[in-house]
Amino acid sequence: MKTIKKRLPHAVVSGVAALLLPLALQAASDDEHKYHQLFEDNCASCHGSDHGGYLAPALNAETLKGRSPTALRTIIMAGSFDTLMPPFYGKLSDDNIRGLVSHLQKTPKLDNPAWTIDDIKKSLKVYVKDESTLPAKPAYQIDNIDDIIGVAARGKYGRGEGSRAIFINSKTHQKIGEVPTGTAAHIIEYNPANPRWAYVKTDTAEIFKVDLYSMQAVRSVKTGYNGPGIGVSRDGKYIMAGSFVPHNAVILDADTLEPLKTFELEGIDPDGKQVSSDSGMIIGTPFDDIFAIALENAGQVWVVDLKDGFPVTRITNVGHHLHDAFLTHGGQKLMIASYDDSIVAAIDLKDRKIIKKLEAGCVPHVGGGSAVEVDGRTLGFGTNFGDCDKTVVSVWDLDKMEVVKQIPVSGGTESPAAHANAPYVAVDIISKDRRARTVQLIDKKTLEVVKTLDVGGHAYFPEYSADGKFLYISAGYSGDEVVVYDSVSLQKVASVPMESPAGIFSHGRVRYMTRGLSPDEIKGAK
């Protein structure tokens, strides 16, 4: 762990330095540490521990060059509208805000810090020592565990009291559990083999193993500094997690959260350059005992076999800046988005090669993706940030692997939701104005937008309940509620308050693999 390594020698040296260095120099160096810590404690979970950016922009000497310190101070004080940036007025003193601005404007992007398998081991925390003391069934009334919907509540400041994984019974729309996560919860995965376990990953790369029967965290481990990537193997025995900071991934024992093997993410990118890479999506598949992981910057997908030594097959030249993906054909085919090429690449996980690259709108972010069967065809739906004039949702025929239609929508989109029993595919409009309050509904059959819901807040990450009867949507940012609609009438039926909700994850996902497919799809490759 690099920052510690850096700090420890300094503490030793500073005693000597006190005798030798002029007082002013010593004070400057103390200040640097103070502001580094302030950055880590308040900013790094979104802006990246290496100052290189993560959910939020990079803050370093280069990116902030020429920016007015007064303007930067105002943003920190008042927050930034239409983003997740909260106001730090009253949380940080004016002197600290000024000092932080000056610190950021002279700090370069830091080198990729180390976070080794030993660091991961040492970070393991056990909250429930003897898991046999846990209840044998849910300690609350629920018809089916798949009715659980988990929401990643970020908390206004991306950390603190409001940062929780919140679990809701999607039949009653009542909260059934809240698990504090310290920093913003980002992804919730469920164990496909044992319904009681959920895994929550935060923006500071901790993974909490959560017992859904007693609604508490039983263990946690810190897998890096930042990064949302997490997948669970089909047998429920392994977790793979990947980080933006540092550039690594790790396979954990899903039961104990102990690390088994780490991977340095580097490789030759599509332009022939050897690069070190962020971790993109990680996915387990019902098709095989493997994980697939995207190396964002290297443009590669690695297939890791879950056997001795965890060998890796590298699929290269997939695209520039890979991000997220979804599965189809019983989990044999992986559809992965490439931001910079504006394509989605179809990969065969059996042959471990690229099948085809499909047009996907501008800056595709498939957000977990959706696939539905309509009139004998399996159609995939892909959202995209749409940082261009053409804002569309792409529809692909996943059998023929061709573009069926690019449906015009009112702005950029981030995540599509579909369900076998619901008539509409919901997409969240994220363009930074009033449109961000809305979600648009696409009729599965006509492939046209038929309705726009005004959800409020920054509405994103729609998700259907496991029975398809209800559509859950986060009214995120300052909206501070999850809004529930009837999936057919589209009437609002409930509101669940929480702080800055984001991703919504139905437990039903373990049955239908990709949202919108029927549970039968998972039983075998077509």
Binding site: F81, P86, Y89, K156, E161
Partner: protein, 103 residues
């Protein structure tokens, strides 16, 4: 006996609606989203935030507080600046909007 009272209520109602240009909660919603909710939230503030909640507060109170911040009879670096950007109509709208929200 009753008629004059009703008449005076109607007159008062007309007078206030003229002076207030009928506060619009829709305009208030949009202004609150752009100016207030970043700190004060819509229904409530963050458990970690130092800002008071506005939802469900009395409209007259919100209006008078905002006007005091605007004319700086009530001091706050940040609120003096923010209220300074609001027109009378904005203040009416925002106060009416927050007063109607259930926290």
């Amino acid at each position: 006996m009753k008629a004059p009272i009703i008449a005076s209520l109607i007159v008062a109602g007309l007078a206030s609606s003229v002076s207030a240009q009928a506060a619009s909660i829709y305009a208030g919603e949009s202004r609150a989203a752009a100016v207030c909710s970043q700190c004060h939230g819509i229904r409530g503030t963050s458990a970690d935030a130092p800002f008071p909640q506005l939802a469900g507060r009395d409209a007259d109170y919100l209006e008078s507080a905002l006007k005091q911040y605007r004319d700086k009879t009530r001091k706050s670096d940040i609120m003096n600046n923010i209220a300074g950007s609001l027109s009378d109509q904005d203040i009416d709208n925002v106060a009416a909007y927050y007063a109607r929200i259930k926290p």
